[in-house]
Structure formats: structure tokens, C-alpha cells
């Protein structure tokens, strides 16, 4: 029981760590915390997964996790990164999707839906129109593409489905 309580504690501490590139999202929203392990000696291991291979935020996130744990008095820990199975945007939580849309970034289509439609059916985060057009496959960060809305004419970022 003690271990369980401690585990939930670590989880709530990690939920305070933000994605440095999209600061409305926590790393929990982003779905990159693979698991939390606690050794019998009380040592904590946080296992995370990178979004994209070359994502420069990965190292910042590891440093931020370390800072947040120390800030909350957890000193005996290690942070490991695992790439398999590869991260997918389907791991972004419902809460994360809502926050993205509110922030003006169109959340990723689910992989099932994208496969069914044959395209990703991107919805404008401003006016909710589906009448949108891709400007570029790549945007300000590796995880985003640039779109524009053909109804309200607003340009916006789309969080790519991978």
C-alpha cells in the first residue's frame, strides 16, 4: 500500500512537467511517460519515450523531470528513455487533445480514422470547418504541419498523426 501511494505521488509530480515546445501540455498529456518503476530500496525509475528521434525537446524534458522530482524531495531516481514500441499520437490523452485545440493547434487524427478516410481530415481549431488545406508537411517543430482554413482563412498548426 505504501508503494502504491508513493507511485501515485510520483505520477502527480510528473504531471507538473510541461512540454517545453507546447507549454499547455504536460508530459503526461503527451503520452510520453512509459512507466514508473520503484525498486525495493525506494529508488524510482521514470521511463519515457521520445516523440521524434531528433526532437530537441527530449533532453530538456529529461532535465525538467529531474528538476521537478528534486523540487518535491525525490532525490534517488533515474530517468531512462525507451524507443520501442515507438510513440504514437494515439497516446496523447483526451485531455491533451482538448488543450491543444483550445491553444489553437489542431489535434492529431486518430490512426484508425486517418486510415479509414485515407487522409487526416484536419479540422480548423478556430471555426471547426473541415474545409482546410495543407500549406506544408513541416512546421515550427518536428511534430507539427502548417495548415490554413479555407473558410475563416486563419493559418494554423496541425499536430501530425504518427
Amino acid at each position: 500500500m505504501v508503494a502504491l501511494a508513493a507511485h501515485e505521488d510520483i505520477e502527480s509530480i510528473l504531471a507538473l512537467v510541461k512540454d517545453p515546445e507546447i507549454p499547455v501540455l504536460s508530459i503526461a498529456d503527451l503520452g510520453i511517460i512509459r512507466r514508473i518503476e520503484e525498486g525495493e530500496d525506494g529508488r524510482v525509475a521514470v521511463v519515457i519515450t521520445p516523440t521524434y528521434s531528433g526532437c530537441p525537446a527530449t533532453e530538456v524534458i529529461e532535465a525538467d523531470i529531474a528538476d521537478m522530482l528534486k523540487l518535491h524531495g525525490v532525490s534517488d531516481f533515474e530517468i531512462r528513455s525507451e524507443i520501442s514500441p515507438a510513440w504514437t499520437t494515439d497516446w496523447i490523452t483526451a485531455e491533451g487533445r482538448r488543450k491543444l485545440e483550445e491553444y489553437g493547434i489542431a489535434p492529431p487524427a486518430s490512426k484508425g480514422k486517418a486510415a479509414l478516410l485515407g487522409h487526416e481530415g484536419v479540422i480548423c481549431p478556430q471555426c471547426k470547418s473541415t474545409n482546410t488545406d495543407r500549406v506544408s508537411e513541416f512546421g515550427s517543430t518536428a511534430c507539427k504541419a502548417q495548415y490554413k482554413c479555407l473558410d475563416c482563412l486563419e493559418p494554423f498548426d496541425y499536430f501530425k498523426c504518427v
Binding site: 521524434y52 520501442s84 506544408s136
Partner: protein, 252 residues
Amino acid sequence: MTDNDMLFDYLLRLGDNSLILGQRLAEWCGHAPMLEEDLALTNIGLDLLGQARMFLSYAGEVEGKGRDEDRLAYFRDTKDWRNLLLLEQPNGDFAATMARQFFFDSFQYLQFEALARSSDERLAGIAAKSLKETTYHRRHSTDWIIRLGDGTDESHEKMQRAIDAIWGYLPEMFDMDAVDDAMVADGIGVDVTALRTAWDGYVNDVLAEATLIRPEDSWSVRGSRDGKHSEHLGYILAEMQFLPRAYPDAKW
């Protein structure tokens, strides 16, 4: 060569391909014909750099001589590099960069798809991760081949010229040597000759849609598997390796 030496060499090939092409794309930073492409080329370069790090870290561990990814990237001379000659060719104009990118993306997509089924779990994991990125890279370069090929007279002519100029570098992608054979026999590596039909099919469809003519197979150059490179690699390394070689313990 022992099995271990061969796996090391095989991983270097994969890592060096990603690293050298990524370095080439980084040269476009601030120079691309439009802002969206500046972002696209550097983002793709960043993906490739991330892939290279995973392959080279693994290579260093397999070698077991204490060389990490940085040591392998910054302290090897040209004869020790294993990237395809195609990838070290200069960027040229935007059409030349896209031709190089398109033919390699089309190949790499198939190679990663097959490598994701490798009996080597770590390698399979890297390939599965990278395949997601390469899917976007291929879509991006495919779009440009079609847009420029089936565009204005000038863009068509430039795209065709770029394809003709690079064509003889492509056969090397499908070569197999003793290392490849051994890796395939162990279930670790990919039989690249088996990718040829799928690659031809994809490339032919895209070229046809782009109204471009597939060149005749009249010439080819190769040598990367033995560390024989074109003169261009030396210049890339001179720029990429200068700082760590001049200041070996430099930190950010």
C-alpha cells in the same frame, strides 16, 4: 571480419547515411527558396540526425572500444565512412536536393519497413521509430517531384536535369557485399535487392505523374561500402568535424 565487426560495419552504414544527408540538409538553413521549405528541410535534417544518433550509439556499443556517437561522428576520416555516395553529393539547386531526397526516401522507406522486422530487437525498434518519420519525408519529396516536374517549363527542365545528373548514384543503394549477406543470413539485415521491384514501382508511378522521363541505366559509381568516397565527403567532414577536433573537450 568477425560477426561483431560486421554488425558494427552494418550499423555504421545506416548511421552514416542518416548523418551525412542530415548534414547536407542543414546547409539549407536560411537559404531555402521559401520559409516553409527552410523549416521542412531543417526538420527533416533533424529527424535524420536523431536517427543517426541511435544507430551510431548502438554501433559504438557493438564495437566495444569506448567510442560513443560523438566520437564516431567527429573523429573518423573519410575512408572510415560508410554512407552512400548519393548522400554526400552537393545540394546544388532545390531540384537537385529534392531528386537526391526523393530517391533515397523511397529506398529508406522500404528498408526501414523491412528492418523493423529484424531479429535484432534494438535495430528493429530504431527502424520502426524512424519509419514513421521517413513516411513524412517521402510524402514531402514526392510532392515536390510532382509539383516541379509537372509545373512550368523551367521547373520541369530543372527537375529532369537533376534526375539525370544523380541517376548513376542510385544503383549503389541496391548493392550487397559480404557484410550485407552475413546480416541477411543472421536475420538482422535487409536483403536490399528484394526491395528493387517495390522501389521501381513507386518511383516509376511518381515520375509518370510528374511527366518526367526515367533515365537509361547508362553509368554508375559505387565504393562507399569500402570507404571509397567522392571528394565531396572530405569537405563535409572538414566543416562538421572542425570544432570537436580543434577543441576536443569543448562543452556547450
